[in-house]
């Protein structure tokens, strides 16, 4: 991936690498009503994420990790507890914390460029030319400059997620929340994106919270991997990953980390199975 060429002053201001946020999640609980009764998706979860940290949340499906992500995004409200970004309580969605979803969620009525522009148009301080320049910069960053005017349905799954990433990066958020963004992609595309996301993360300095059920993926990307236990959703164990970056998912060291986490995940599953008996 190439870095975009020089831009004039107001754009370079917009493209400045801004300080990533510190996230403080305190005692967050959330329950849902389901057919079989009340489900405690999150039970007094507390978590601190440092500025510019890459944190991965792993766990079986239904363990509340996506719910936590949505709460950090402000898309859902916790029943109790607080989420603070840079000390300020999160009360609703906002563009300092952008989300990348598992489905690309790109708007089919806009072309690739229009999609990246969407969030920028909601920033009132920019001129239209600035917006276009910024959008171009991020499309180049994700390597899709040539597809500026392509329609969304013409893109492959991997390209869609790249556009999605460019769209999330464009408004220059302090936090990037990623909800299994690569789960629907083939292995080859995924491995390419692991490289890209690490590169972009170090270039753009974002705080990233990344939800996945893929342990290897978590070990490859995260500074820390947090293992969630389901019913009720809690943070069960924490694994700092101390490997140099950029990391390759196919190394032995990384596999060792992944094995440790997988073992913990498995014992959790067994514990739950025993508990259910």
């Amino acid at each position: 991936m190439r870095r975009a060429a020089r831009h004039h002053s107001s754009v370079s201001e917009e493209l400045e690498v801004i300080a990533p946020s510190k996230l403080a999640i305190e005692n967050v609980s959330k329950s849902f009503q389901s057919a079989s009764g009340t489900v405690l998706a999150l039970d007094r979860v507390s978590l601190n994420v440092a500025e510019g940290e890459f944190v991965c949340l792993v766990g079986a499906s239904g363990c509340g990790k996506s719910t936590l992500l949505n709460i950090i995004a402000g898309l859902e409200k916790p029943d109790s507890g607080t989420v603070r970004a840079d000390g300020k309580p999160v009360t609703g969605p906002g563009r300092e914390r952008l989300v990348m979803f598992q489905e690309p969620a790109l708007f089919p009525w806009l072309d690739v460029f229009g999609n990246v522009l969407f969030g920028l148009k909601l920033k009132p301080t920019l001129t239209n030319k600035d917006r276009r320049d910024v959008a171009k910069y991020y499309l180049e960053l994700v390597g899709l400059s040539r597809f500026e005017h392509a329609n969304i349905h013409e893109l492959s799954g991997g390209m869609k997620q790249r556009v999605s990433l460019a769209r999330a990066l464009a408004p220059n958020p302090r936090v990037l929340l990623m909800d299994e963004p690569f789960a629907a992609l083939d292995a080859l595309t995924r491995e390419q994106l692991y490289g890209d996301i690490q590169e972009i993360w170090s270039a753009r300095r974002k705080t990233i919270v990344f939800v996945t059920h893929n342990v290897r993926e978590a070990a490859c990307l995260g500074d820390r991997v947090l293992l969630f236990s389901p019913h009720p959703g809690r943070i069960h164990e924490e694994f700092p990953v101390k490997l140099p970056r950029p990391r390759d998912i196919n190394t032995v060291d990384l596999a060792a980390y992944a094995t440790r986490i997988t073992k913990a995940l498995r014992s959790l599953g067994q514990a739950e199975a025993i508990g259910a008996r």
Binding site: L75, G94, F101, F107, D111, L122, I152, P171
Partner: protein, 255 residues
């Protein structure tokens, strides 16, 4: 080009068949005039201006009524999709009234408005309105929630959300509703014009009606042709490009 030639050959064959039927005298020439008689009626009507005048009058009624139907129908559809109260009331009413063939509005319009332009407009509006309301409602309800969520995180809300996310996302539904509304409006206007002879202007339907009164079959067929051509043109000029755009953007089947 090949497709065009084939189509041209098809229509030429149709006219030839018609001419042959005329020459064979299977039916009385009063009932089945030759294509040339119809053509000559068309030519005369075009030259003396009757045709243009009638077309303008009809199109004016149609466009004004259709426009009112859209302007009222779109917001109503949005309201019914947004608030349960509107959905339960106006939504249900729209669903019911949409099943009513729009010709059925003609007697009521006549009694309410008499032999006036207002009666014509009313029928056209009723033909358009309910289809548009229902299509808009369905379209909005079918917008994937993920679009809303994605837009929310980027700072879109209220009006911006409606105009930049929900309406565009619902566009394929809305356009097909507009098309259906157009078809209903066109049909009901023709019915109204045939039933109602009003003094404010002779539309195409009225020309058709007088063709029957005078047993002028060439006029009847000629006007029918004009009506068909207008319908086709509306489709080709107005709806086709929009639909093509939607198909291209959304990647839905190419028509």
């Amino acid at each position: 080009m090949k497709r065009f030639l084939l189509a041209a050959a098809f229509f030429a064959a149709l006219v030839l068949l018609w001419e042959a039927a005329f020459r064979a005298r299977i039916w009385s020439p009063v009932l089945l005039p030759s294509p040339w008689q119809v053509a000559s009626y068309l030519k005369n009507a075009a030259v003396d201006g009757t045709l243009a005048k009638a077309t303008v009058i009809t199109m004016r009624r149609l466009l004004i009524g259709y426009f009112i139907g859209l302007v009222v129908g779109l917001p109503l559809g949005l309201l019914t999709a947004r608030w349960k109260l509107f959905g339960d009331t106006i939504g249900t009413m729209a669903l019911g009234l949409q099943t009513l063939p729009s010709v059925c509005w003609v007697p009521l319009a006549l009694l309410w408005f008499g032999q006036t332009e207002a009666a014509m407009l009313f029928v056209v509006v009723m033909g358009t309105l309910w289809s548009v309301v229902i299509a808009t409602e369905t379209g909005v309800r079918n917008v994937p929630p993920i679009y809303r969520r994605a837009a929310l995180t980027m700072g879109s809300k209220r009006l911006h959300m409606w105009f930049k996310v929900i309406l565009p996302a619902a566009l394929p539904f809305i356009v097909s509703g507009m098309k259906q509304g157009w078809a209903f409006a066109w049909r009901s206007l023709m019915a109204a014009e045939i039933f109602v002879t009003i003094l404010t202007g002779f539309g195409l339907g009225q020309l058709l009606h007088y063709g029957r009164e005078l047993s002028a079959m060439d006029q009847v067929i000629a006007i029918m042709l004009v009506i068909v051509v207008i319908g086709l043109l509306a489709d080709k000029i107005f709806f086709s490009p929009i639909e093509k755009f939607l198909h291209r953007r959304w990647g839905t089947s190419q028509a």
